[in-house]
Symmetry: C2
Subunit: 381 residues, 2 copies
């Protein structure tokens, strides 16, 4: 066993501009880094625990739970290990085995895997338009639910991905919320890419459940997430153990006992503030799209962008890669030379990126860098 | 919403000697703190992921999984959010609803709650002796299994708590492993208090599954744990999603995507070394017991101690508390004055503590401090 490989673990990309959409919302502010220094030891969150982690007063976890509920406008909040774990908790506690759940075709893979783990059937709601927008047919939820009703299937849950991780399309959650409400089916909104980046109001969209991700969009170290739920489902989600009445079964007593929760809490004031500047973030994203489309990129997904995650078709990169001796890796390598990472190495037909949270100066630097790489390559070839 | 309470989150106890047994095994070595600085941002572990977290090469997560398997001598290892989550994964993937699981009466509450969540029935194996040792009747597993067989109950799992969190009793796991093997029932050993503190050999004790806790006993920030399992159960534990064949269902694709995993990895060389010094740790514990029993404490649990977690009956503290104006809090407060924390405030009849990982100098300081507090109180009263 060569233990030396675990010494001096180093993150080469640490100081670079990272365009990977799963990274941009999880960058820690200074305040959270300071808190890490205080609480990095194993069970250090639990110094003053009297039996239930989310009721600890010092650090103020108990109050934080309430403030988070207010932040997303839901009745209650619990901590989870992430959005996927929140989805499983909802499915496992409110559905019966073999129930059907209805979800959008852009749903994250973890929505399917959570359903598989909970032994549920999945029916997809498809697109209103496929290429190039891949816009979900939100009215289609009604039809799918009607059909399942006609077939006497028991539908346990309606799930909508607020913003998907592939095209970055923002869905009008209220539309689906209303349909679900009318049908009397509980409604879960997956906000892994929204809560912590942009304003989300659970009651406004008629969500019974909201899951969010700390490491993806709430400036926290992973793994941490939150599950918001309405009072109506409190008895199921927060059901207590028979033998240990203080402990909630679906959370195995306490979920996140450690550091990620501390970072979520320490970042909260910062997150509350940044959400208010969402319009400015959209401006940056739209500027990026406008500039890159001039270079021959084509934005997929709904236009204009209503979220920072952008997917581009990039025939120009594909063309260059056929003539560059580095093949598809030229783009990754040229970006890296300029201190930019997060674009999948070797991929040339489509790229995903986000400039969320970058300063305007940096957004412009990214645009100029890509421009330079493409023009230079064209010139050389 | 008063966001100021989340600013400058501070851990008052950070620099003090902490005797709480759940804290002592989770204190980070410098190497892990350095790694935190590199990887604290949200999804930073995943810079070089090609679809499956535990196959990432940089940082060397993939190799780490193999080294951990060798360390506990099991065929495979997966990362979990902690021991409890590992137990649920085993129960949920190998048992059928309403199956019976047989566990020891000293089992951690999370063993019961995991079973409740997996909708299983629990039957306890009781004590060979109650007060004062609370020693589990390991041969009793045979009888309990025989009875369930006679009643035509389906037993899905045998669970043993290697060292329990109440008395710190070490159980001879091999005895139970043999019984389970003979009966053809899978055997799970809960090593939350052992793996990372003392040597554990999964095959030697005939365990089919081993769960361990990073934050409790492997010098890692929470929440992180490991699940070791034998080849025989690979198809169930590591079952892949139908729609997303790279993703393992029970782990919802990836479990621990973040910082705690990095600390577990960075602490590994340190943990491998410290486990070799387990005899020295036992010496410290036995010295503590010997000295405190001279003061009127009485060690509960098996004698001599074979683990660092010690529970004492403390009639002497109870006696003093009746006369001290601070009531039961005098002990907590007097210790704190001397820079020692981790003893439950207000409790006087029984106290739990551990000196695991303290320097001999510190162990002696703890003993001398307690001696001083008791003699002083006696003198004053």
């Amino acid at each position: 066993m060569n233990l030396d490989i675990y010494k001096n673990l180093h993150r080469a990309n640490r100081e670079l501009i990272n365009l990977n959409p799963i990274q941009r919302g999880g960058i820690l502010p200074t305040e959270a880094k300071k808190a890490i220094y205080e609480f990095w030891d194993g069970y250090s969150v639990c110094d003053f625990c009297s039996g239930k982690l989310d009721e600890i007063q010092n650090p103020p976890i108990c109050k934080f739970k309430e403030d988070l509920a207010e932040f997303i406008n839901m009745d209650f909040v619990r901590f989870t290990h992430g959005a996927r774990e929140g989805k499983f908790i909802v499915m496992h506690s409110i559905c019966e085995e073999n129930d059907y759940i209805v979800l959008d075709k852009n749903a994250h893979y973890t929505s399917y895997v959570a359903a598989e783990r909970a032994k549920l059937n999945v029916v997809e709601v498809g697109y209103e338009e496929e290429y190039p927008t891949y816009k979900i047919n939100l009215e289609g939820y009604k039809e799918v639910l009607d059909n399942l009703e006609d077939e006497n299937k028991n539908v346990g849950l309606v799930l909508l991905t607020h913003v998907d991780g592939n095209f970055g399309n923002l869905n009008d959650a209220k539309k689906v919320g209303k349909i679900a409400k009318k049908k009397g089916v509980p409604f879960l909104l997956n906000c892994a890419y929204t809560v912590g980046r942009m304003p989300v109001d659970g009651k406004e969209v008629k969500a019974d459940f909201i899951v969010a991700s700390g490491h993806k969009s709430m400036a926290a170290s992973g793994p941490i997430g939150i599950l918001g739920f309405s009072e109506e489902f409190e008895d199921k989600i927060a059901k207590r153990s028979e033998k240990f009445p203080i402990k909630e079964i679906e959370f195995l007593g306490c979920t996140s006992r450690g550091l990620p929760l501390i970072t979520l809490m320490a970042s909260f004031p910062y997150v509350v503030e940044r959400v208010k500047r969402w319009d400015e973030e959209l401006k940056k994203t739209r500027y990026l799209v406008e500039e890159l489309e001039k270079l021959g990129f084509k934005q997929l997904g709904i236009k204009p962008k209503e979220h920072d995650l952008v997917k581009f078709e990039t025939p120009i990169l594909d063309e260059i890669s056929k003539k560059d001796k580095r093949k598809g890796y030229f783009f990754y390598e040229e970006l890296k030379k300029r201190g930019i990472v997060g674009i999948k190495p070797g991929v040339t037909k489509e790229v995903k990126m986000s400039v969320y949270g970058l300063e305007w100066e940096q957004v412009k630097y990214v645009v100029e860098s890509i421009k330079e790489i493409i023009l230079q390559s064209h010139h050389t070839l």
